[in-house]
């Protein structure tokens, strides 16, 4: 009733209050944009359903709840109506279900990944209580499954080049975590025992949030990282600087974290 109007109103004002998709309000990645589009599509469908059902509800309550005390209509139902209101939603639902398969396949099915990016992951991200450990291959090399002596390490600080799909290898050392880039609409749990390739593409240079979105213990809330999206050249330079800072005295620090 009143609540339903308020609900619709809330949706209308929400974006302007910042109660909407995380800043900047649209997705920074093409895939995320598709997710947003889907969201709006479903919002439209469910919005119409919601308003329809509630308008009907309010109208019925107003019309038949008038307290005139007329005897109710003696009917046990209508076969036609049942069929109609089974088929119509079924069609809509089936449409929703099939329409979005494609986005899902692009997001998750490995054979749809960019082959180049999949073959050369930019980094291995290992989650642990309560930090993200990041291992880059040395500049010009390919990331190996097992740590190499010239690998580069950082903590909570993931850098990635913009404008092209990149892949990270996601692992966990202890419990479940979840690799969540809200501005890019990317989320993937880090599962102990599995090495999961995650791809994303960030089109905007900047510093974005890396959130742990799966309860991983008391420090879950502070497991905060950062994604620095930079142009390819800068990214390469970043790796080189990193290498310099980690190996500058000529004595390799085999396993140091920063």
């Amino acid at each position: 009733m009143v609540a339903s109007i308020a609900a619709v109103a809330a949706f209308v004002v929400a974006p302007s209050m910042g109660w909407w998709f995380p800043t900047p309000g649209y997705s920074l990645s093409p895939l995320g944009a598709q997710i947003d589009d889907l969201f709006y599509l479903i919002l439209a469908i469910t919005g119409v359903t919601f308003i329809g059902v509630h308008v009907a509800l309010v109208y019925i309550l107003w019309k038949f709840g008038s307290g005139k005390g007329e005897r109710g209509v003696f009917t046990h139902g209508s076969h036609t109506l049942e069929v109609v209101w089974s088929i119509v939603p079924a069609g809509i639902l089936l449409f929703i279900a099939l329409y979005q398969m494609d986005v899902w396949a692009r997001y998750r099915v490995k054979s749809n990944f960019d082959a180049e990016a999949l073959a050369h992951p930019i980094a291995e991200v290992t989650a642990r209580q309560f930090e993200w450990r990041i291992r880059y291959p040395a500049p010009g090399k390919t990331l190996q499954d097992t740590p190499q002596f010239d690998d580069l390490y950082t903590v909570n600080d993931l850098h990635a080049p913009t404008g092209r799909p990149v892949v990270i290898r996601l692992k966990s050392e202890d419990v479940l975590h979840s690799f969540y880039l809200p501005q890019l609409r990317v989320k993937q749990d880090a599962v102990p025992g599995l090495a999961i390739p995650v791809w994303f593409q960030c089109d905007k240079v900047g510093e974005w949030d890396l959130v742990c979105a799966e309860l991983c213990g008391w420090g879950h809330y502070k497991m905060r990282g950062q994604l620095t999206a930079q142009r390819d050249a800068e990214f390469q330079k970043y790796l080189q600087d990193l290498q310099k800072s980690q190996f500058d005295d000529g004595v390799p620090l085999a396993k140091a974290a920063e």
């Binding site: 490995k110 499954d145 692992k171 025992g193 599995l194 090495a195 999961i196 390739p197």
Partner: protein, 138 residues
């Protein structure tokens, strides 16, 4: 369910209860033979899938005999289907649904049992496990 008709006259009794006369010892014999078959299937040296299929088929056959005769399902009304069919479907569905995730792996599975295997498996064969003394007591 033709056997159902055979008992229809008995239904008049106050203390009816399906009271079939089964030769339990014959069923027992069949079950024993089946057990021996699955044991033999192993003994002959079958391996892997063939063995699994044979022994599980035998087990299913045994289970059917026990349910039909010992548990008298053969003589019960159609409620048995209503009760058992969903259970069976679910019982098969769980392993089937777990298979793509647990029984096989879409992503790289990095258990130490596998990774260490790669590192240590040069020329070390399994049959050379007990060179000094054969496994005695098991």
């Amino acid at each position: 369910m033709s056997e159902h008709n055979a008992h229809a006259p008995a239904a008049d009794h106050a203390h009816e209860q399906n009271h079939p006369h089964v030769n339990y010892w014959m069923i027992f014999g069949i079950l024993c033979v089946l057990t021996v078959i699955s044991w033999l299937a192993d003994e002959i040296g079958n391996k892997g899938l063939v063995l699994a299929i044979v022994v599980l088929a035998v087990a299913t056959a045994k289970a059917l005999f026990v349910m039909m005769y010992f548990m008298h399902l053969k003589f019960e009304g159609p409620w048995k289907y209503v009760l058992l069919a969903p259970t069976m479907v679910l019982a098969l569905a769980i392993p089937a649904a777990l298979m793509p995730d647990i029984g096989s792996h879409y992503y790289d599975f990095e258990a130490p049992q596998i990774t260490e295997d790669v590192a240590s498996h040069d020329g070390d064969t399994h049959d050379g496990k007990h060179p000094a003394e054969p496994a005695v007591k098991h």
